[in-house]
Symmetry: C2
Amino acid sequence: MNIEMIRAAAERLTGHARETPLLSSPFLNEIAGRRVWVKPECLQHTGSFKFRGAWSAVSALDDRVRSRGVIAFSSGNHAQGVALAAQLHGVPAVIVMPRDAPALKIDNTRALGAEVVLYERGSEDRDIIGAQLAQERGLTLIKPFDEPQVIAGQGTTGLEIAAQAQAVGVTAADVLVCCGGGGLTGGIALALEAEAPGLRVRPVEPEGFDDVARSLRSGGIERNNATSGNLCDAIITPQPGDITFPIMQRLCGPGLVVTEDEALRAMALAFVRLKLVAEPGGAVALAAALCRQDAIEGEDVIVTISGGNVDPDIFAQSLDTLT
Amino acid sequence: MNIEMIRAAAERLTGHARETPLLSSPFLNEIAGRRVWVKPECLQHTGSFKFRGAWSAVSALDDRVRSRGVIAFSSGNHAQGVALAAQLHGVPAVIVMPRDAPALKIDNTRALGAEVVLYERGSEDRDIIGAQLAQERGLTLIKPFDEPQVIAGQGTTGLEIAAQAQAVGVTAADVLVCCGGGGLTGGIALALEAEAPGLRVRPVEPEGFDDVARSLRSGGIERNNATSGNLCDAIITPQPGDITFPIMQRLCGPGLVVTEDEALRAMALAFVRLKLVAEPGGAVALAAALCRQDAIEGEDVIVTISGGNVDPDIFAQSLDTLT
């Protein structure tokens, strides 16, 4: 896992992934007490950064292997990223989802051309189902984060941040990244190490699901007690990855933690000030920039908005924080 | 008023206005029955395209004239555009607003460094107040649309559309533009005439406020019966401008008209599929692409989202159309 893989992924993504802009608002600067630069991956295809890693992984496969198709386990952003990347490559995608996943997410994944295989969360083992399908049909598993080509794809976000920060004259700043398994965080950290060493990545997690922050403190992989029950579900994973954790340990500053209410409030401010739709998990980095001023260093801070796939009722809940 | 003025405005805007991306979604393509390309000016500084025209006009002033300051009449997007353009130039801005304008809009305009002068809508004449202030302080009036340098600034949107459409291989398409007084519509039309003659601009207006569509049909300037009472207030003007109308008459295709409900539904789809916040008036072009399929020609359609400055309760109303 190195910068050359990220640069190669960037070449494969050119003309396929979107180069998202770097946005700002004087009103957010005022609240944060420093300049806030926002990298809105909610504007990426399928509404999250996951398309980058999916495209990177699918495009890196050998032609013959790829033509047999890919498989992924996900009910969320990774599912849609893999489905679209496979569709655009003209190869089959199978997405294994729990039967109780929201109907809209199942429909969206199917509409992106994927075959959705449903399993019973209580009585069936998705890994066994997936392994069997993969073997029968020769499908390649695309893991959500602990996979070098996926990390390389997410890291292209970091290449863009490096160039865009330089264009606005920012050479030293904390870069706050919404963090689940560490694919985006680790990928950006590797890209910035090579391209903008004055920019330091810091993972941001929801309160109660701060496995990465605790792992960085203890020096070993720590697990979360729960893996559900938070609005920021998109970035909740049991523990950091075996590949992503050493990268984060070597390159990232201390983790930051925000509450669900702070994430909802950040969503509302992204609505008012940036005209962007962020999902709760995608808003935690912005929330940290706005609410953890004393824990951040420097005159500038860069934040990712990692995704915008949020149900209307939860978005309405965030708007309620404005009144 | 010509293409050279737009090109010169583009040079002055470089590094100051944002180049907004050109977005798309397979789900919107499916609804529209053709490929839909979205130019999201809601992502422009101050949340609407108005910043382009304001920057163009302020930056075109002679140094000595500009240093005395500028003045504008507006309670909306033009106010914020002029306030920020003046602030960034380090010159005073006076914005004349009705006393009953929403407190948030007054606060925002002040927060962008402008002096807000309030008048009583019933008993005072804003033109007299403005003319007196302008004379006393030597302020230059920045008109909202019927002013060549403002049209030139809005036209830079068209230069970007021309280049971005070419990059995705679109050389012939209708370009639907949210239309009030015609500054954005006319500016884009002039830019495309020079840079992408296969792209034809068509103004889109809210039902009951279709002065431009009717004027294009009759060949003379037609007025609206009312100038308020519609959610699409941001793009409602009494009549097309004296400068903008001849441009539209020469270059634009027939106007399109959508209902408030269609605009709200388009806002909701921009939320779900593009992760963008559109205001009702900013969503009429997308609404036309989705609901007036038979009135549009070709395999592609390009639409502007002209702004995203919408109150949370109206946005929530748009989300209700999803259920």
